[in-house]
């Protein structure tokens, strides 16, 4: 059996690696996405006070500390049995919208955009954000930086710190909003809406109006028909902060809808001997391997998944764009719902629709009269133990940019942590990601003949659309992912190496 390894050459620990195994014919037999584990996070948390968890867990990752902070503080609401006042919930959600705007903006322009705006076959030296700016114009580069700055300022203002926020407390938030702050946020939100609309128009002009790119999105290299997961509100609309977890089947029918506190009834984790990653799957359907279809428990939780599980968007302009995407890519099914979009590259489009929703909802929240209330905290009175139990349980979830994020804590009666479990956004997608990598490899390696040009990028595109957060999922902070492919023959001898971005 031949083996092809795609290995980051950062020489850093905690890096990911892709192994591609060929069969005797030289065709792709299997692919493995391997990420070494970082150890001891649960151990690190055990024995600490539960109220420290929002500031500990948000240090797992430098990219999405806001998501961990929110999931954690929601878990604490349950652990302490306390309901935050309405203003506190709205402040949390407002901050969370600002976070989504920065995160989705950065992903589209720095990671996703270059493949489309500059072109998937452009030389790597041009296929980056500078290439995007050169193509779209210098003003858009300034606007990307400006959008990040404006929203980081909102996060800092509300969260107390720019990076690792401290605002979240069980039962609410540590600070109320002043009138001046609300006015500033309104201004930021309006600019965010304009920016999101511009980004969608850019996607239209450059990607959708270009038959080559449109074909790329529609091509079957990047298609997988799996279950989808996402959080929806009471009207089955996309919600990042609160609601129920909804799973739809590959045809778009609701399979289940549940409170995140019941996640363990619905989701199980598969352990494979070749990686430290755990592969979550739908428990009642079961693990059938890395395969598509309604009989396989594999599900996906991404921006596209969130739109696939929702009946509509909660804001006006996002809804218009939602309809346009589904009318273009799938249409309505027999049940009256839009059919799920299985073209995974459409995740980039979905991300922009979510960007617009986050911006619009940010403005709605800033305009909500209740958000300026001074009542932002319900002070808990110890942890909430069940009758005759000497421990308390807290489970909280939010939609992180990369998928549903769940924190689960068990504490003793004094609120000292005994057990921690987390299913982070990216982890949900490990099985689909492995499948997407395999599909891309199959199309590019046939009978031992490797389509060298573009192989790295086409495979990278397969996992880049998920924007995998290895930091979170392995609780590590690896370096960038420059790649090396080692193609090995049956005897394990390397006969070809393709590298990119070596630091030598």
């Amino acid at each position: 059996m031949k083996k092809i390894s795609i290995d980051p050459v950062t020489r850093l620990e905690g890096h990911g690696r892709i192994d591609i195994f060929l069969d005797d014919e030289g065709n792709v037999e299997n692919t493995y996405f391997i990420v070494p584990e970082l150890r001891g996070f649960e151990q690190f948390c055990v024995g600490r006070l539960a109220e420290d968890m929002p500031v500990l867990t948000n240090r797992i990752c430098g990219v999405c500390p806001e998501a961990h902070h929110m999931a954690s503080v929601k878990a604490l609401d349950m652990l302490f049995g306390v309901e935050p006042p309405a203003a506190a919930k709205k402040i949390r959600e407002l901050l969370y919208m600002a976070f989504f705007v920065t995160d989705h903006t950065t992903h589209f322009y720095a990671l996703g955009g270059p493949d489309f705006i500059v072109g998937p076959d452009a030389p790597p030296s041009e296929r980056n954000i500078l290439g995007v700016i050169r193509k779209v114009g210098i003003d858009i580069g300034k606007e990307v930086i400006g959008t990040r700055a404006r929203n980081h300022h909102v996060i800092e203002m509300l969260g107390g710190r720019g990076v690792h926020l401290t605002g979240g407390l069980p039962g609410g938030w540590s600070k109320s909003l002043s009138k001046e702050e609300i006015e500033e946020i309104k201004d930021t939100a309006k600019k965010n809406i304009d920016f999101a609309l511009f980004s969608l128009k850019t996607f239209d002009d450059i990607v959708l109006n270009n038959p080559v790119y449109k074909e790329l999105i529609m091509s079957d290299i990047y298609v997988h028909k799996t279950y989808y997961m996402g959080t929806v509100d009471e009207n089955n609309r996309v919600n990042f902060y609160n609601g129920k977890i909804r799973i739809v089947d590959p045809e778009g029918n609701e399979y289940v809808k549940y409170d995140s506190a019941d996640y363990a009834e619905h989701i199980a984790e598969r352990v494979e001997p070749w990686t430290y990653l755990k592969y979550p799957y739908i428990k009642k359907i079961g693990w059938k391997g890395f395969v598509d279809g309604a009989d396989s428990g594999v599900y996906c939780a991404t921006p596209l998944s969130r739109l696939n599980v929702s009946d509509k968007m909660a804001t006006l302009l996002a809804q218009e764009n939602f309809e346009r995407m589904y009318d273009t890519l799938s249409g309505k099914g027999a049940n009256g719902r839009y059919k799920p979009v299985h073209h995974r590259l459409a995740t980039h489009w979905a991300r922009l629709i979510e960007l617009l929703y986050a911006a619009e909802h940010m403005l709605e929240l800033a305009n909500d009269g209740e958000i300026g209330s001074d009542n932002v905290r319900t002070i808990p009175n110890g942890v909430h133990c069940l009758p005759k139990a000497d421990e308390a349980v807290g489970i909280g979830s939010v939609e992180a940019p990369r998928g549903t994020l769940t924190h689960h804590y068990v504490s003793d009666k004094n609120g000292v942590i005994k057990k921690v479990n987390m299913i982070v956004g990216t982890t949900n997608n490990y099985a689909p990601m492995t499948m997407s990598i395999k599909r891309a490899a199959e199309k590019l390696i046939i009978k031992g003949k490797v389509v060298e040009e573009g192989l790295l990028n086409k495979i990278e595109m397969a996992f880049r659309l998920y924007d995998p957060c290895l930091s979170c999922s392995t609780h590590s902070l690896p370096g960038q992912m420059p790649l090396i492919i080692n193609i090995k023959n049956k005897d394990g001898e390397t006969f070809k190496t393709i590298t990119r971005n070596s630091w030598d």
């Binding site: 970082l38 240090r59 990219v63 720095a110 930086i145 990040r148 990076v163």
Partner: protein
């Protein structure tokens, strides 16, 4: 000239936190002897008290000789206004944004070359630099690309960027402490950067 000192890493990932701890120690020493007449409000008093405590714990052993003397001599009110200290956890665009508006930058990070003994200190002058652990972001870009983008967009960025990288031993286990070798190395980095700051001023 305005200088920014940036410690980068994960504060709870053992040796990965060396940059964060180093910048905390430098900042603590920098503010430790603010003269009493400057301490007009409680927050400043608190900051001084914390700084002194921190300096005792983390860098007390290396408050020494020449570098410390020149550091103290140069630590005027004016020089304090010209130096900013930042702790951060992500590289790429975020790191570039932290450098915007400064003429000089000093960055401290962990590195894993796998070829050198834990605690080995590397000093790089941008653009001659490898990937250290956290100056790149898997979600956007590496530092050189971010700086190139910033310059292209007309953002004022430092003309001089010095990167101190400490070979880490443990970047796998969660923990708040550095390993012995890296802790010792951090002290020498702290010392050298203090001297560097004094010379800048």
């Amino acid at each position: 000239m305005k200088t920014v000192v940036i410690g980068i890493g994960n504060s709870i990932l053992s040796d990965d936190s060396v940059g964060i701890k180093a910048v905390q120690a430098i900042r603590a020493a920098f503010y430790a002897d603010e003269s009493k007449d400057e301490l007009k409000d409680e927050s400043k008093k608190m900051r001084r008290k914390e700084a002194v405590e921190f300096a005792k714990v983390h860098s007390g052993a290396v408050i020494e000789s020449a570098s410390q003397q020149c550091f103290i001599a140069q630590r005027s009110k004016q020089s304090r206004a010209n130096v900013k200290f930042i702790e951060t956890s992500t590289g790429g665009i975020n790191l570039m944004e932290h450098m915007a508006g400064f003429q000089r930058a000093v960055i401290i990070d962990a590195i894993v070359t796998g070829k050198h003994k834990a605690g080995t200190v590397f000093k790089f002058i941008y653009p001659d630099m490898p990937y250290t652990r956290n100056t790149v972001s898997t979600h956007d870009m590496d530092m050189p690309m971010a700086l190139e983008m910033g310059k292209y967009l007309g953002i004022t960025l430092p003309s001089e960027i010095v990167i101190f990288a400490v070979e880490a031993k443990d970047t796998v286990n969660f923990g708040e402490n550095l390993t012995g070798e890296v802790k010792t190395a951090m002290r020498s980095v702290v010392s050298e950067i203090k001297c560097l700051l004094a010379n800048y001023n």
